[in-house]
Symmetry: C2
C-alpha cells in the first residue's frame, strides 16, 4: 500500500523528467498539443488501472464455512439443552452407553432423551436424526 503510493509518485516524477528531456530534444515539437495530451491521458489511464487493481487486490483466504447454531429451529422443535447435547454426541458416532458414561447418567436416561429426540425430529433411527440435525444446522 505505502510502497505502491511511493512507486506511483516515483513513476510520475520519472515521466515528467522524460517529458522535459524530450521537450529539450525538440522531438515533441512536431506533434500538436492535443496529441501530446492524448498520449499522456492514455498512459496515465493505464497507470490508473494498474494502481487501482494493485490497491484493491484482495488477499482472499478460503476459510471453511463456520457453524452457526440454528437456535430458531431448535426452539421450534422444542429440543432441550440436554437433548441437544445427546444429539451432538450421537452425531459423533457414540453409542448410547458411551454417551451415558460421558454425561454421568444412566443408559435409560439416554434412551429416553434419544426417544424424545426422534419424536421431535420426526425420525426413527439415529442416523436419520444426525442427518436431519445437520440439515437444520442443529449440529456442526
Amino acid at each position: 500500500m505505502k510502497r505502491t503510493v511511493i512507486l506511483y509518485g516515483l513513476a510520475l516524477a520519472v515521466f515528467v523528467f522524460v517529458l522535459k528531456f524530450l521537450e529539450y530534444r525538440l522531438i515533441i515539437r512536431d506533434l500538436t498539443i492535443e496529441f501530446y495530451v492524448g498520449a499522456v491521458a492514455l498512459i496515465f489511464t493505464g497507470v490508473g488501472i494498474w494502481a487501482g487493481l494493485k490497491l484493491t487486490r484482495k488477499h482472499v483466504v478460503m476459510v471453511g464455512p463456520e457453524f452457526v447454531l440454528n437456535e430458531i429451529e431448535l426452539q421450534r422443535l422444542g429440543i432441550s439443552k440436554r437433548e441437544h447435547e445427546v444429539l451432538g454426541l450421537m452425531a459423533q458416532g457414540f453409542s448410547n452407553q458411551q454417551i451415558a458414561d460421558k454425561l454421568f447418567v444412566s443408559l435409560n436416561t439416554i434412551k429416553t432423551h434419544s426417544s424424545n429426540l426422534f419424536l421431535k425430529l420426526e425420525v426413527s433411527r439415529r442416523t436419520q436424526a444426525v442427518q436431519k440435525a445437520k440439515e437444520l444446522r442443529l449440529i456442526p
Copy 2:
C-alpha cells in the same frame, strides 16, 4: 463491458473538447505546460482506476462446495462398488432392511456388506462409518 468502453471514449472526447474550449478562452495560457500535463495525468489516473475497477468487478456467486469423490482413498481402503453404494444409503439413514429392498438383495447380503465396510473403515457402528466416510469424502 461494451458500454464502459463507449463511455470511456465519450469522456475522453468531451475532455479534449473542454480543453480546446479552455485553450481558446485563453485560460490555460497562464499555466505552464508541466502543470497542464500533470493535471491531465492526475485526472486520467483517476479515470483509469475507475475504469479498471469497473472492468474487473467480479460478479461472485457463492456456490456450495461441490462434492468430489475421493477415489484414491476409496481404492486405498479397498471398498468395492457395491459396498460404496451401501455406504451411501446408510448415510441417508436407511436401515439394512430398507437398503436390501432398494438394491433387490437379501438382508443378509447387506449385513455382510456393512460388516466388511466397518472392517475397512475401522469402525464398529454405522454412525461412525458415515462420519468417517464424510471426512474422507467417500460420500457427499
